[in-house]
Amino acid sequence: MPAELIKVTINGQEFETDKGARLIDVCREKGFAIPSFCYYADLALQASCRMCLVRIEKMPKLQTSCTITCTDGMIVTTESEEIEKAQRGMVEFLLANHPLDCPVCDRGGECELQEMVFDWGGLEERFTEKKNYAPEKFLSPIVANDPQRCILCKRCTRVCDEWMGEDAIEAGGRGSHTVIGTYGGWLNCSQCGNCIEVCPTGTLLDATYRHQTRPWELSRTISTCTFCSDGCQLSVGSRGGEVMRVVARDRYVNGLNGEFLCIKGRFAHPFVNHEERLRTPLIRYKKGGKLIPATWDEAIRYTAAKLRAVLDAHGGESVGVVGSPRLTNEANYALLKFAREVVGTNNYTATEAFSLVPFFENLGAPLATHKDIRHAKTILLIGGEPEELQPLTGRQIRQAVRNGGAKLVIINSVPIRLKHAASQFIQIRPGTEDAAVLALASKDDAGVAARKLNVEAGALEQVRQHLNDAQGDVIVMFGGELGAEAQSLLAQLSFTFGEKEGRRFLLHPLPLFNNSLGVHDLGLMGGALNPLEILDAAGAQLRAMYVAGSFLRTHLEGREDALSKLDFLVVQELFQTATTEHADVVFPAASFAEVDGTYTNNDGFVQRVRQSIPPIHQSKPDWMITAMLADALGTDFGFQMSSSAVFLELAKQIPAYEGLRYPLLKDESNPVQARHALVGQRDVSAQLVELRSLVEGIEETGETTTQTPPVGHELFKLGTLTSKVPQFHLLAAGNPEPESVLISPLYQITIDPALRDEAAVAGD
C-alpha cells in the first residue's frame, strides 16, 4: 500500500516523503546528519538525550526530531548556530558525570559518546564539582557495568523489555543519581548481551572480552552464527589468529538480525581457540588401542586403504556416510558426493534432531522470513520454544505482537514464556501436537482431537476462525514435536483454508541447527536411513562409517555401543566426543571461524560464512578433508582447493540453489533466499487418514505442567561447544550470585564437574 506523499522543507531544500515518517529518519535519509544517542529504530521513543534538536517553523523552542512525525509543509532547520549551541550544551551536560577514562575503557575507539564529543564537545570542562563515583561491577558472569559512564539513554532497558520481553535491567534512583541496574543487583535473565551491544558508551561491557584487546586491533569478518537455525549475521573480531569477540554492531555488520544476538552467538565463541581442539589427525591402529597422532598424509592413506578394503569385501552399501546440520553446505555437499560417487551408497544421513523431509515434499506456501514475521498479522506457533531455541524468531514474534499488533496463537504442552505475548494460548497434553494439526486440517476430527489434547473443542474452533478471518500474513510455525503426517498437512494448510483476498500463508519451520535447512535442501536427509536407523545398522548391514561432526546425545541414548560394532569408523570433529571414542581415524576439522562456506537458515536464506582466522593447529575445512579422501580413493572432485568451486558445483546440482554464486551472497543486508519448489495442492487424504489413526492411538494420560520453564533452560545447557565457555558453567548451574560483585564470579565460584555431564546437545 503506497503511503501518502507530503512535502517537507529541510534546510531550504524541498523533499517528498511518506506521511507519518519520523523526522529524524527523513533528515538522515536525505543526507543531513543528526546526532542522537537515545533514538533507536523500532524501539519506544525516549527523547532523553536531546541531541537531535531541530528548529521547526511555527513551533516554540527547539524540537527533538526523533519524536516528531512529518506533516505537510513542515519547514525544518537542522543546522544553525542556535542548534549547535544547544547540542554543545547537551554534550557538556552528559560529560558532567562521565569519567572520561577512555584509555582504559573497552568501548574506547568505537564509542558513540567519544565520537559525539569529537564533534560537539568543548575544549575544556567548566564543571569543578565532584563527579558521581561508583565502582565498576559485574551484573552477571557476562555483563560488566561501569555506572558512572552511563548517559542514561535507556537503550538497554528498552531493548531488554521490547526485544527480549524480560525487563531484567531498568533505571533506578533519581536525578543525577540514576543508575542502570537490576533488583537485587544480579541479573537473572537470558544473558543475551543485547544491552551491551546497543550501549553507546562503555557502561555495559562484555565481561568475557573485558580488558583483552582494543577494538582497533581487531580484524573483523562478517559471518553467520553457528548455533541455532535463525542464521544471525555477526562480526567476528579476531587478533593474531584468536577470536576475541563476536558482535552484531550495525557499523560492522547489518544482517537480518540488526544488532540482535543471543548468548550463544555472542559469547559462546571461545570454543574456537579452546585448548582441547584436536591438533593433528589421530589413528587408532588397533581396536581398543589409543588414538595416536599422525600426519595428514599417513591418516588419509590409512583411511583410504581401510575404506577400500571394506568396499572390496562388502560393497558400497556397507559404508554409511553421515553429514551434520552444523557444517556448511559445502561440507555436506562434499559428503553427499562422496557417498554417491566414491562409495556408491544410499546409506547417508545427517545428525539432525528431526527430519523436515515430509514438510518440504508437500511445501504449499513460501517460507516466512524474519521480516515477514515482524510484519505478520497472525502467527500460529505449534510446539517449539523459539525464545530458547531460536531467539531471533522469538524476538520477531514479540515485536510483531508489541509493535505490529499481531495476533499470536500458541499451541504448546508447556506454558512457555512467549505465552504472555499470546492472544490465545492453548495448553495441550504433552506429545499431542499432532492432534492439534489434525484439528486444524480437518474440521470433522476436531472433537476427537480436542479429547486427546485435553482442551475444549471451542478453543480449537476459535483458532480455525482466527485463521479463516485473518487478513495480511499468516505465519505458521512448528517445532520438532510434529510427526511426518502432521508436517505434510501443515505444509498444505494454505489449501485447507483456501484462497482469500488479502491473506497469505507463510510457513516457518523451527529446526535446531544452523544449517538444518541446508542438509534438507541438499538431500542429505533423503538417504535410505535416518540417524537412528544408521546407528542400528552399524555392525550389521554397515561395516564402516564416515561421520562428519558427531551424533547427538539423543541419537546415542540406548545405542552407546552401536559405533563400536563397526569395522572402521572415520570421524572429523573439532573436539573429542562420544562419537570419536570409537573412531579408528579422527580428522581435526576447522570451525566456522576458520572456513569459507554457506549456511541456510530457517528463512531459506543462503548466507555466507567467512574465514576470519587461519585454521587452528593442523585442522582443515570439512569439505577439503572429504575431497582429499576421495582423491586417495581415486576420484578427483575437481574442487581445486576452493570452497567457491564447491558451491558453484552445488548450485548447479541443487535446483533450489540454482544460479547462486558467492558474489551474489556478498551483501549480508540483502540475503538471498533459496528457491524452494512449491508443490501446489497435493492430495493429502492418505496422510490425513494416517494421522487420524495416529491421533486415535494417543493415550489420554500425559500430565500437563503449569510451571513456566525457567529462563535459559535450553540456552544455558552445556553442549560440546558451550561447555568450552567458563561462563556457561556458572549459568548452567543456576547463575549463583557471588559474594562480591566487584570481582568476576569466575574467580569466586567453582562448579561441580558433575553438572557438565547433565549436558544436553539440543540446540547447541
Binding site: R174, T182, Y183, H729, L746, T750
Partner: protein, 186 residues
C-alpha cells in the same frame, strides 16, 4: 583464553531461594483493598501500598514485601524497584527506628542545612545514608520537602521539624533516645 577456570569445588548448597511472599493480617489486607478500590488501574495504587508494606515490614521493602507488591499490583518486580528507588521516603534498605531526613535543597542549604547534617553526623557517629549500630537512627539528606519558609528543616517519620538549630537537633535526638518522640517512629 587468558582466564583459566577450573571446575573442581562444588557449589554452595543454596543457589537461589525463590522469593517468599509477605503475608498480612485481615485488617491490613482490608486497608490495601480500600486503596486499590480508588483507582481504575490497579498499578496506580503502587505508592500507598508501598507505604503500607513498608510500615508492616520493618520499615523497608524487603524481598518478600516486594514480591507481595508485584503480585498484588500485577506488575513486575523491576517496576517496583524503579519506583522504590526513585522516592526518598520509600526505603529499599533497612532503616533505624528514627529516620532523620535533612533537607539539602537551596533554601535549607543557604540557611545552614550543612551545619545541621554535620552536627547530626558528629552526634550520632553516622554519615548520611547510614544507620547507627543500635538500629535507632538513620540519617539521610533529601531533596526539597516544601518547607522553605521555615528552613532549615528535617523530617522524622512523617513529621516536620522546622527552623532547626544545633540546639534543637540535640533536643530532638534526646527525645528520640528517651522515646518521647513516639509519633516520629518511621
Amino acid at each position: 583464553m587468558s582466564q583459566q577456570f577450573l571446575p573442581d569445588n562444588p557449589l554452595p548448597q543454596e543457589v537461589r531461594v525463590p522469593d517468599e511472599m509477605a503475608v498480612f493480617s485481615p485488617e491490613v489486607e482490608a486497608e490495601i483493598d480500600r486503596h486499590l478500590a480508588k483507582y481504575p488501574l490497579k498499578r496506580s495504587a503502587i505508592l500507598p501500598l508501598m507505604f503500607i508494606v513498608q510500615r508492616e515490614r520493618a520499615g523497608f521493602l524487603d524481598p518478600p514485601g516486594v514480591a507481595y507488591l508485584a503480585n498484588r499490583l500485577g506488575v513486575r518486580i523491576m517496576d517496583i524497584w524503579e519506583v522504590a528507588t526513585f522516592y526518598s521516603m520509600i526505603n529499599t534498605e533497612p532503616v533505624g527506628m528514627y529516620h532523620l531526613q535533612i533537607c539539602r535543597t537551596l533554601s535549607c542549604k543557604i540557611l545552614g542545612a550543612g551545619t545541621i547534617t554535620e552536627h547530626c553526623t558528629r552526634r550520632l557517629g553516622i554519615k548520611p545514608g547510614e544507620t547507627t549500630p543500635d538500629k535507632i537512627f538513620s540519617l539521610s539528606e533529601v531533596e526539597c520537602l516544601g518547607s522553605c519558609g521555615t528552613a532549615p528543616m528535617m523530617q522524622i517519620g512523617f513529621d516536620y521539624y522546622e527552623n532547626l538549630t544545633t540546639g534543637k537537633v540535640d533536643e530532638l535526638i534526646e527525645k528520640c533516645r528517651s522515646g518521647e518522640l513516639s509519633n516520629g517512629v518511621r
